[in-house]
């Protein structure tokens, strides 16, 4: 039997606000600037899909699919329902800024999941990061006491049913976690901060504590922050800096943008 080619594509998810929808459409265009044949699926709310004014914005996508709810964490639903065999998920407050994006599919290697490592070096730029002494940056090999995996960028082998179940569990467990219906014993050790508000804590649990997903192979991107360069790092792209040896491939506006206030994307 002839093996069919694996489909590869990007998944973006935009809910809640028109500004996120617009940013997602813009991100898709920046992907196409460097990868004109890229497949891109947008998961968004039905109200945006049906809006006649927004139809032109949807042109860069090969698929536009509705989310099942309008929470701000529909991204995991989108990730679980990707139409591709290999998927690159990106948060919408990003843009592709370098032609090396074309190497994305080679980055997966023999992994099921690939993440950006949130290091101690970058920790001051994240709202919450650690609750204990064990940190991967120190060479720690066990379960780290910090949110090591960024949920904003994820390359994954979606042809593996277990990976899709992982995404689905991430979605469902986070929604339960947020309303206090799910709190595994490993969370009891976290005595500081307000980590239960983050989907990255759910991700941390699934990766390090869920027996079901021990089989999944994961690793961090070799050029790490180049795949998720936070503008709050505040360093010029033109030169080598502590976060990035080369010009960033994906630039992320998350940390500095006032998503819920009057600045930032809401200018639209």
């Amino acid at each position: 039997m002839q093996k069919r080619n694996q489909t590869k594509g990007f998944v973006l998810v935009a809910t809640k606000r028109l500004s996120f929808f617009k940013a997602g459409c813009y991100l898709a265009e920046t992907i196409l600037d460097y990868m004109p044949d890229a497949n891109i699926t947008l998961f968004t709310e039905q109200q945006f899909i049906d809006d006649p004014v927004l139809q032109k914005d949807l042109l860069p996508f090969d698929k536009v699919l509705p989310t099942i709810a309008d929470t701000n964490r529909e991204k995991m639903y989108g990730m679980a329902n990707t139409p591709y065999d290999i998927t690159m998920y990106l948060d919408v407050d990003m843009e592709v800024t370098h032609e090396d994006i074309v190497t994305i599919w080679d980055q997966l290697e023999d992994n099921d999941l690939k993440f950006v490592n949130l290091t101690r070096e970058g920790a001051k730029h994240f709202a919450e990061w650690s609750w204990g002494p064990n940190q991967l940056d120190d060479g720690w090999q066990g379960t780290p006491d910090h949110l090591a995996h960024c949920g904003g960028v994820c390359l994954y082998k979606s042809s593996n049913p277990l990976t899709l179940e992982f995404m689905q569990d991430w979605y469902v467990l986070f929604l339960k976690q947020r309303i206090g219906e799910w709190s595994p014993k490993e969370f009891d050790y976290i005595k500081t901060g307000n980590f239960r508000q983050w989907d990255q804590l759910t991700l941390w649990w699934l990766i390090y504590h869920s027996p079901k997903y021990k089989k999944l192979k994961w690793s961090f991107f070799k050029e790490n922050y180049r795949w998720n360069y936070y503008t709050s790092f505040g360093l010029p792209w033109s030169e080598k800096n502590p976060y990035c040896d080369k010009y960033p491939i994906v630039t992320h506006y998350s940390s500095g943008l006032d998503k819920y206030g009057k600045r930032g994307l809401l200018l639209l």
């Binding site: 813009y26 265009e29 505040g234 639209l268």
Partner: protein, 150 residues
């Protein structure tokens, strides 16, 4: 009363004026602490008692060391502040640029243009001047194209 002179450093290159923390344990057991300025000479040119006391408790080498460490600490703080301010400015610049790009694509002529090359150049702009320049070129082309049928 017990006087302890702690962490003295020279205030000037002539090394005749010191800043020092003075801890006093009083007769009744109470404790007070303050930052004191100590001059080497009094008005008549004699070496002061406080100065001698400071030097008895803190050899010159130690005072020199405290002074050097303090200078280095301040230098590092100044450099860190400069770096932090630069980072903030750059972050702000990048975010504003991103927002300007999003706004440019809300201009109907730019949004509906099929000139992918110029639209891509707008998106790839690395500063506002570049962004504006490409936006104007694209707008001009689109407006001229609208005029042509006449």
């Amino acid at each position: 009363m017990k006087k302890e002179w702690k962490h003295p450093f020279w205030e000037n290159a002539a090394k005749d004026r010191l800043t020092v923390r003075l801890n006093i344990t009083h007769e009744d057991g109470s404790f007070s602490t303050s930052v004191a300025k100590v001059s080497k000479f009094d008005e008549s040119g004699k070496i002061t008692e406080d100065y001698n006391e400071v030097l008895t408790q803190n050899p010159i080498e130690r005072i020199d060391k405290f002074t050097e460490e303090r200078l280095e600490r301040h230098k590092q703080q100044r450099e860190a502040n400069i770096k932090k301010n630069k980072e903030k400015q750059e972050t702000k610049r990048l975010e504003e640029l991103f927002n300007f790009k999003l706004q440019a694509f809300e201009i109907p002529e730019i949004k509906s243009s099929t000139n992918r090359v110029l639209k891509s150049k707008i998106r790839k702009s690395r500063n506002v001047v570049e962004l504006n320049a490409y936006a104007v070129i694209l707008l001009t082309e689109e407006l001229n194209a609208k005029k042509e049928p006449n």
